[in-house]
Symmetry: C2
Subunit: 458 residues, 2 copies
């Protein structure tokens, strides 16, 4: 270990309590991007980050208008012209906290119990962003920082980053870098470091059906009109066949199949059926026939209802035929599917089946293409060595089932590959009540990012 690296690691260990306090400050700002009543909190979170970057010695700090929620930018170029430049991506927005009654502690107050910190955004991804701040701070204070650093911190990841692609394109020079670091992916377990090489895409729709002009008395009119809730249920019910395959016309036409070698590697991953049962609480798994659970969760496309609403949902019995029904339906996509094509397939499916009395609409709320990245770059190898050193275990390369829109934008707009890692765990309940962060893994993550930075200078 070089002196600089050792000093940086020492600094990080000495300052752990402060890093944790700072995470608590950021968590206390309920920066929910999906809910416009929280727009002032989004602004507060952006200001908090800008101030923090300033205190770390960053320059050109800006809270940039994107048309949506702002991007926070800052750069520290003290490594000099000959050193590589890394752009670190993060998001400071979080998912809504509801259903609130299922939380055991207030979602926007960092609550530590044993090794766990409970809060919305603890792991996804305020904890990851501040881990990277800690590593950068530790490396900077040694005076031997081997890499220039830019930060691009967005506030719309949880709503699908609707403005980010355009925004990155419009600010290419400011964001220019040699590669991107993206700590929004996770680990398989506290002892198993990993690097993600493929991400799924997303096509997220809201489908609305309107039948009668107003809610009807089910006694008076039951049997005469098509009920939009029954019709919507019927449409959704038909979107899978009895083998768990999606029936939208042409849905699988462009799906890039998993190759034999890849499936062999995936079979070695620790994520067997037991893993998925344990983390979801179900006794019997479900999915497309012919694929293992881990293949289905990361290498195959899906279609799921995310939300559904019609008619009377209050207490007791209201004998009403609802005039309207709504479902939020999303597909996770794999290379080489395109959200726009899936949108057309969904429209074609509905148009062919729906009862002619219905007015209907499909609105795409969010979309991202899937991505697959190279595994042999210098930066990915630097991260792999860092993880192996800190976690003392061989690094697994894996696919991730989620969507990280910015990975595609970095590639398309800036021409840079992303190093995807992160220190969230499957049991962290991302997007769910009682989201949590495993603190020992988080602390090792800071160390690993310090190793990564100094590996880049080798």
């Amino acid at each position: 270990m070089t002196n600089s690296l050792a000093n940086a690691i020492h600094f990080a260990h000495e300052n752990r309590a402060r890093f944790l306090d700072e995470l608590g400050e950021l968590i206390a700002i309920p920066s929910i991007s999906a809910d416009s009543t929280h727009t002032p909190d989004i602004k507060r979170a952006a200001e908090w980050l800008a101030n923090k970057l300033k205190s770390l010695g960053f320059e050109k700090i800006q809270i940039m208008d994107t048309g949506g929620h702002p991007v926070v930018f800052g750069e520290n170029m003290q490594a000099g012209k000959d050193a590589p430049t890394m752009i670190v991506y993060g998001h400071y927005d979080v998912q809504p906290a509801d259903p609130l009654d299922l939380w055991d502690s207030p979602p926007f107050a960092a609550t530590i119990k044993d090794d766990l910190l409970f809060a919305r955004g603890a792991t996804d991804m305020k904890g990851q962003v501040l881990a990277s701040f800690a590593a950068v701070e530790a490396a900077l204070q040694t005076g031997a920082m081997p890499v220039n650093v830019k930060y691009l911190l967005e506030g719309e990841e949880e709503t699908g980053s609707p403005t980010l692609g355009t925004f990155i394109e419009a600010n290419k020079e400011l964001f220019a870098a040699d590669f991107a670091l993206n700590p929004d992916a996770g680990m398989l377990s506290p002892s198993q470091p990993s690097i993600t090489y493929a991400l799924r895409g997303l096509a997220y729709f809201e489908v609305n059906l309107t039948g009668p002009s107003h809610d009807l008395h089910s006694g008076q009119f039951g049997g005469t009109v098509r009920n939009p809730a029954n019709e919507l249920a019927s449409l959704i019910g038909g979107m899978h066949d009895d083998k768990g395959r999606i029936t939208l016309p042409g849905f699988y036409d462009k799906v890039r199949e998993l190759d034999a070698q890849e499936r062999e590697e995936m079979a070695k991953l620790p994520e067997g059926d037991g893993f998925y049962k344990a983390h979801t609480g179900v006794s019997v798994l479900w999915g497309e026939e012919g694929y293992s659970a881990v293949e289905r969760a990361s290498g195959r496309p899906t279609l799921d209802v995310n939300g559904m609403l019609s008619g009377y949902i209050g207490e007791g019995a209201k004998t009403v035929l609802p005039a309207k029904a709504m479902a939020k339906i999303s597909c996770r996509l794999v290379a080489d599917q395109h959200p726009k094509e899936v949108e057309a397939q969904l429209n074609e499916y509905i148009a062919a089946r729906i009862h002619p009395s219905m007015d209907w609409s499909v609105k795409m709320l969010s979309s991202d293409v899937a991505s697959i990245s190279a595994r042999e770059s210098k930066e990915i190898q630097a991260m792999s060595a860092a993880l192996q050193e800190v976690f003392d275990a061989p690094v697994l390369f894996k696919r991730e089932g989620g969507t990280i829109p910015v990975v595609g934008y970095m590639q398309d707009k800036l021409g840079v590959e992303s190093v995807l890692t992160g220190f969230g765990l499957p049991e962290d309940r991302m997007h769910s009540p009682n989201e949590r962060l495993h603190l020992p893994t988080w602390e090792k993550g800071i160390d690993a990012m310090i190793h990564f930075i100094f590996n880049l200078g080798k």
Copy 2:
């Protein structure tokens, strides 16, 4: 016209403005039975009715504890032992007013515009109850009242009268009568009086599915577990075949078919396809193949979703796999179906199809058997003559698609037939926003009930 009848009609006409003011007072009490936060309003409405009966000279007035919402009772026996006794049924509870944003005026303030009075409960059935009060008051003030009158006014009709059957059975002597008058049925149009001879029954269920132990990230776990919302949609989608018939096992086994003569009479009713299109606002009707719309709406059983909820229904896109899904599903039944048997059929259907990872439950929230009544009794003929006189048109005998639980109880528990009539119209938006009462029809209804009372004395 006898002097007494003429005097009573004159009295009713002179007092119309007061009758309307009293209706406004009762409407202003939001007596929503389905929502327990309105229990104090239920009590206020009961007290208002008890006071009103007292002012009409009724005796033995009681607000009776039923175990649920109270029954208001009162009797006026001044016609004497040799005169017939009629028990008038009504309900003073109303449906919830939501969705509130679709109302053009406050739901609990009687708002008159031209010939229409807008308010929740205006037509269903505070308006009908007060029309009967007006007729009874008018007959009583002549001093020649030919019939004894009892009132049984319940507060749970809109939640399926869960305690009424037991309660009537427990108070047989108090409620003893020769026949019942029930003005909770409607008219076909302002110029077409009618008497209802058959009612549909109801079996109303809440179905709950639980899959994962908590809401899941759709990227991380999409493709590995059965989504309860998709599963519920699939179950509901399968509950009708492509001929619009219900697929619950054995559902049609006990259905009493419409006979040829009945279908011939129903074909003469003014309720053609145009009627149903106009009153529902749909361009194309839907339902069981082989039956006309009016047959389907009154003489055939149905299955409809009344409410449906799962996952995230707020603004924007939340990429969650919901842990739970709920649907309120109800069947309108015809003779000789039984709600308990339909409950068993629904359970059997779900058990046979549902994915084994689901915990599920079916709770019957409300149930009533269907009824068919004789058309040739003295009382029904008295009503028929009264309606013909006032509306100057032949009376149609018809089936009603809705459920009036008390009709079955009157027959089973008290051994009395009901005369079913009423002055609500199809376009009155019962159970919907902007419920309304057509005032000219309401005023004729008061006159018709006065004629009915004096016809009984002939």
